[in-house]
């Protein structure tokens, strides 16, 4: 569905609403994903849907109703249902005026026709190249190739009207050798950039290089985290920059901004326009997103807000609302960290004894306030001795405060896009001086 069509539906709904304030979101999606394992496609799927969601506000009371029926009669009923629901709840004095929106041009490269029109054979071709690489090495692999097209339109009774169309294409593969595994991923908006042969070769290379893994003792190690590993770790710090977490007192920085919490080499931003991960330029209230520094040279400078928390905390609305109703508060969805100066090879060469880690698995929060997390290494963990890779090691479990990890860290010279859940991250390789492992595995 074209943006003009979505906008017509959204405008009509806002005009017909009897609520004091109304926000209408019209979303479309067409997603396809080819999954493969052991030389078969075990799941090969596609689907399309439309959604219309109405947020009705009456005297500080809010109701949200959603449907995937866009007929006029259904939308009229939806408007009335949201309004009537709102009448059942107490008034909240902090409910703000809906933001008026503003100019929010999309960054270049968000939408690529080739991705939008990719057919199942295009995904099969990339998958086949990955599978062939594993077969040539005598290994097996599993993973996926996906394409997606999405459209979002937000309109509200304060005059906001914003539309965005985007595409997404991804490869993810894990290759399994007799006693080791390797991994590769690639995120882009353009399916033509997906190189199955290169991804397959990278995963094979990691599996081969980590063969015959040895055990190392848990304890405190210097680690070099490649972007997928560092990005996943960072994901568990990101929500601390939400105004909700800040306001609740559960964020590490709830005691105050403009304080140094990290190594001065740590700078973190939220940037929807980074060329490696161009994204929607407005939030789910139609408010233009700010390209926001969160941490500058180790000092926390900003938290992200939406209209509710901007009013509550008397701070600017940074444009980071999630779709209503939202229990998670505003979130920075487009994390970017600048690169350092050394290549990964140079970081390794400068390490007397340490571990090179490709990827983490199943990180969970152990202690919220101190940002202690636990998790496992996965799919390519290597011992570094005397500045060189000395072979693969068996996987380890860590328990580590992210705050302390970022207290002494340096960064590699190349940024890569990675992602976890609904966060997009563009991060470099990170070398962390002290990282605590508490146990090992037998594989």
């Amino acid at each position: 569905m074209k943006a003009k069509h979505r906008e017509a539906i959204a405008r009509r709904a806002v005009e017909r609403s009897r609520a004091d304030q109304t926000e209408v979101r019209v979303s479309t999606g067409d997603d396809a994903l080819t999954r493969f394992a052991h030389g078969i496609s075990n799941q090969n799927v596609a689907g399309d849907d439309v959604t219309i969601a109405v947020r009705a506000i009456v005297d500080g009371r809010t109701g949200v109703a959603a449907s995937n029926d866009l007929s006029d009669a259904s939308v009229d009923a939806l408007l009335e249902r949201a309004r009537e629901m709102a009448l059942f709840v107490p008034s909240d004095p902090l409910v703000p005026a809906l933001p008026p929106g503003g100019s929010a041009p999309a960054p270049g490269g968000c939408y690529v026709d080739a991705t939008a029109h990719a057919d199942p054979h295009a995904r099969a071709t990339v998958s086949d190249a990955i599978i062939s690489r594993a077969e040539q090495a005598g290994y097996w692999c599993s993973g996926y190739v996906s394409t997606a097209t999405s459209g979002t339109t937000i309109a509200n009774s304060s005059g906001a009207l914003a539309s965005f169309d985007g595409t997404d294409a991804r490869v993810n593969v894990k290759t399994t050798a007799p006693d080791s595994t390797g991994f590769a991923e690639h995120y882009t908006t353009d399916i033509r950039e997906l190189d199955g042969d290169a991804a397959g070769a990278r995963a094979v290379e990691l599996a081969r290089a980590s063969a015959r893994p040895r055990s190392v003792e848990p304890g405190v190690w210097t680690v070099i985290l490649e972007p997928p590993a560092f990005g996943e770790l960072l994901t568990y710090l990101v929500s601390h920059f939400s105004a909700q977490s800040f306001s609740d007192g559960s964020s590490f920085c709830s005691d105050g901004l403009d304080r140094s919490y990290f190594d001065e080499r740590v700078t973190i931003g939220d940037d929807f326009a980074h060329p490696l991960a161009p994204s929607m330029p407005f939030d789910y209230e139609g408010q233009p997103k700010l390209r926001l520094p969160l941490v500058e040279a180790g000092v926390v400078r900003n938290i992200v807000t939406d209209s509710y928390y901007a009013k509550k905390l008397d701070r600017p609305n940074t444009g980071h609302a999630l779709p209503a109703p939202n229990a998670y508060g505003p979130q920075p969805l487009n994390i970017v960290m600048p690169a350092g100066t050394k290549s990964t090879h140079e970081l390794i060469a400068g390490t007397q004894r340490g571990l090179l880690i490709s990827r983490f698995w199943y990180i969970r929060i152990v202690d919220q306030k101190r940002a202690i997390v636990t998790g496992m290494t996965r799919d390519g963990t290597f011992l570094i001795e005397n500045g060189k890779i000395a072979g693969g090691v068996r996987n380890l479990r860590f328990n580590q405060s992210i705050l302390e990890a970022l207290g002494s860290v340096e960064f590699g010279s190349e940024q890569k896009r990675t992602g976890q859940y609904f966060y997009s991250l563009v991060v470099p390789t990170a070398k962390i001086d002290r990282f605590t492992f508490t146990s090992t595995t037998e594989f």
Partner: protein, 482 residues
């Protein structure tokens, strides 16, 4: 049935396009959520949607396509797309593995309801949560209190080219209350019931069973008390886990590794593989003789209880672990056939947009014969832990570390001081072999998990692991806080 004519059109189109087997699953889904946060209704949402997913089998390979377009043209387009995807699957397949289901059923099923949630006025639902949330604010240190209610209703209509026609109405209900205390550089939370609330299939009777108003103030008091409670010690201790924590332990260390698609490597790139390899079947001493774990998709109140799974296989009861020995898996038609068995109806899709896949369903630890308090009797120096706070396990489901919201020391058979930040860790078979007692049916409950993630694209599953408290000997405690 509501969608019968559209179903025939879709299956005819798929057949004409070349499918050797096809099925279609229509769903009408309604999802209502209310969440009260610090005195205001932060979420009041009512979502409704309809759509369908079509599976097509071509040359032993599957394709799946879904849409909400219920026009004839939309049905035709989606059916043809499913077949085109199946052809693409076949074009890269190194072997033929898919086949049509072996059985045909024509039937219907509906979740039994003592009180249909739709008959409970919205004002009554909101008032209950506002009161529960207010009660949890037992002191200034409660920074956030929340109370929530989820009501889900799914009407499913399944048809296949071999003649199955199934109509099911599944109703699931969940509710809970949480208090988060902040102070002295610390954050402590308590949730009731369990760690996510009480989630079961059924109606308003689930909300009444949860008894939020009778327990909200207690969990507020406990959250505040945890701020100043002593740190759980580190070392090796005998441990008693509360029922909801045992439920999560089953979920992570038995439920996921016993998914046969994971065992066969189909989840390797995302959620991992499994140590429960097929050559271990009927041989591996997974746990002690006290440990019997079964799939039961017929039990009352289970989140996964239904008449038929999303491949059209009839629900039943089967062993995963019997008297400590690995006896079976959670299976689909294709994976079961690969090991010479038949499906035990463990295939679910999150909703119509998603392809059916093996999901943990109702997977229950059968109760033992020891009263709950009896679990403490011969523990000289141990820890009792309740309600999960943190969970992590490796990608073969062996090395795990869990944290709980609250603990108490056990001294000479008696529960003693409250402890903060209790954690424990272990290796799965070693841990379950250290289980020497499971509490009796008096404390057995159908603990539901509403948000189990698996698959790519990620699907959220609703599952139950019924359990009672259990005792484990010689457990590593306090990891992460040493």
């Amino acid at each position: 049935m509501e969608f019968e004519a559209l179903a025939h059109r879709a299956l005819d189109t798929a057949t004409i396009c070349g499918a050797q087997y096809g099925d279609i699953r229509f769903e009408n889904v309604r999802s209502e959520r209310i969440e009260v946060r610090n005195g205001v209704v932060a979420s009041l949402a009512d979502g409704r949607g309809s759509g369908y997913g079509i599976r097509a089998l071509v040359d032993g390979a599957w394709g799946f396509s879904a849409s909400s377009d219920l026009t004839d043209a939309g049905i035709d387009r989606t059916a043809a797309r499913a077949v085109a995807i199946a052809r693409a699957s076949a074009s890269i397949a190194r072997e033929r593995f898919g086949a049509a289901p072996p059985h045909v059923y024509v039937d219907n099923y509906a979740t039994p309801l003592a009180r249909d949630p739709r008959t409970v006025p919205l004002g009554e639902r909101v008032a209950l949560l506002l009161e529960a949330e207010k009660l949890a604010h037992t002191g200034d240190r409660i920074a956030v209190a929340r109370a929530w209610l989820d009501l889900w209703r799914t009407e499913k209509y399944f048809y296949s080219t071999i003649g199955s026609a199934l109509e099911q109405t599944i109703v699931q209900t969940g509710t809970g209350v949480q208090a988060m205390a902040v102070g002295d550089g610390d954050v402590q939370s308590r949730t009731y019931p369990g760690d996510v609330g009480l989630y079961k299939s059924g109606g308003w009777e689930i909300v009444e069973e949860a008894a939020l108003l009778a327990n909200a103030a207690r969990i507020g008091d406990e959250a505040i008390a945890l701020l100043t409670a002593p740190q759980c010690p580190s070392g090796t201790f005998d441990v008693v886990l509360g029922g909801s924590q045992v439920s999560l332990q089953i979920h992570e260390s038995c439920g996921h590794p016993a998914e046969l698609d994971r065992v066969m490597g189909w989840e390797a790139s995302f959620s991992g593989t499994s140590f429960l390899e097929v050559n271990q079947l009927d041989r591996l001493q997974y746990g002690s003789a006290a440990v019997t774990i079964v799939v039961d998709n017929t039990m009352p109140s289970g989140m996964a209880t239904c008449g038929y799974d999303d491949e059209g296989t009839k629900s039943g009861v089967s062993d995963i672990v019997r008297d400590g020995v690995l006896r079976g898996y959670e299976m689909s038609n294709d994976t079961a056939r690969a090991i010479g068995r038949t499906s035990n109806a463990c295939v679910r899709a999150q909703s119509w947009e998603f392809v059916p896949m093996i999901r943990m369903c109702n997977l229950n630890l059968l109760p033992g014969d020891v009263p709950f308090e009896g679990l403490f009797d011969d523990i000289r120096d141990g820890i009792y832990m309740e309600s999960n706070r943190s969970w992590s396990i490796d990608d073969r489901r062996l090395n795990f570390q869990f944290g709980c919201q609250i603990g108490w020391e056990i001294k000479n058979g008696k529960r003693g001081r409250m402890l903060k930040n209790p954690t424990y860790a272990g290796m799965t078979p070693r841990f379950w072999n250290s289980c020497d007692a499971v509490a009796d049916a008096q404390s057995w409950n159908a603990w539901g998990t509403p948000n189990c993630g698996k698959g790519e694209p990620m699907q959220t599953g609703r599952t139950t692991q019924a359990a009672s408290p259990a005792r484990f000997r010689g457990v590593s405690v306090g990891v992460g806080y040493q």
